[in-house]
């Protein structure tokens, strides 16, 4: 019940395309769903996050769509650029304040080709 399932494992998209990464969870106690972006040799960095009371959140070219009834959420990257090439992790936690542990998905390695 603590798992977060993420797909696909890897994704290759042409520049300007819209990569979509999907995640699903079981634990209804999860209350905060962040996405992390990780470049090689770096730690994960918080990219965007959503709470279950909204169905969509946009920050720049990044959008999270959230389906509470299906217990699924996804990350969309608009007008993708080669600089977006990184590994993306979805996560879930019970606490919006960052004081509870994160349960991570398995990661998606995204490559944006010019």
């Amino acid at each position: 019940q603590q798992q977060v399932k993420q797909s696909p494992q890897s994704l290759i998209v042409q520049k300007g395309g819209i990569p979509i990464i999907n995640c699903a969870y079981e634990n209804t106690a999860f209350d905060y769903f962040p996405w992390y972006q990780q470049f090689p040799g770096k730690g994960p960095a918080l990219l965007i996050a959503i709470r279950p009371d909204v169905s969509e959140k946009k920050e720049g070219r990044f959008t999270i769509s959230f389906n509470k009834s299906a217990k699924q959420f996804s990350l969309h990257i608009m007008d993708s650029q080669p600089g977006d090439s990184a590994t993306y992790f979805c996560a879930a936690t019970r606490d919006v304040f960052g004081n509870e542990k994160l349960t991570f998905g398995t990661g998606t390695r995204l490559t944006i080709i010019p």
């Binding site: 905060y32 992790f89 304040f97 960052g98 004081n99 994160l102 991570f104 990661g107």
Partner: protein, 113 residues
């Protein structure tokens, strides 16, 4: 520019040796996490502290791993004795407490031969 710092950034050691990794959380953050990242297992939580008290260390092999917070500015993760299967990147993160999640350090890449 506040950030989580970790030392050392890289460590190569022989099996059986003791390894100590250090983390300085962002000043004012009251929650500190230790994660381990491997290709096979992804990101796993090892332990975390709130106000320096351990809250959950269920992800840690307790016979060889130990985590402490001697003070609010320092968290340590120790492995004794180290084994080749401990080879991984170890991340420290600290909780901001203002609704924006956790900040990760740059990691310590550990190789045990």
């Amino acid at each position: 520019d506040a950030r989580v710092t970790q030392t050392p950034r890289h460590k190569v050691t022989e099996m059986g040796q003791e390894v100590t990794m250090r983390c300085q959380p962002i000043l004012g953050h009251n929650t500190v996490f230790w994660y381990r990242q491997t290709m096979m297992q992804g990101l796993e939580l090892l332990a975390y502290f709130r106000n320096r008290a351990p809250l959950d260390d269920s992800g840690m092999p307790k016979d060889r791993f130990s985590a402490e917070m001697p003070d609010a500015t320092l968290a340590t993760l120790k492995i004794q004795p180290s084994e080749p299967r401990d080879s991984a990147v170890y991340f420290c993160a600290s909780g901001l407490g203002e609704g924006v999640g956790q900040y990760f350090g740059p990691g310590t890449r550990l190789t045990v031969t």
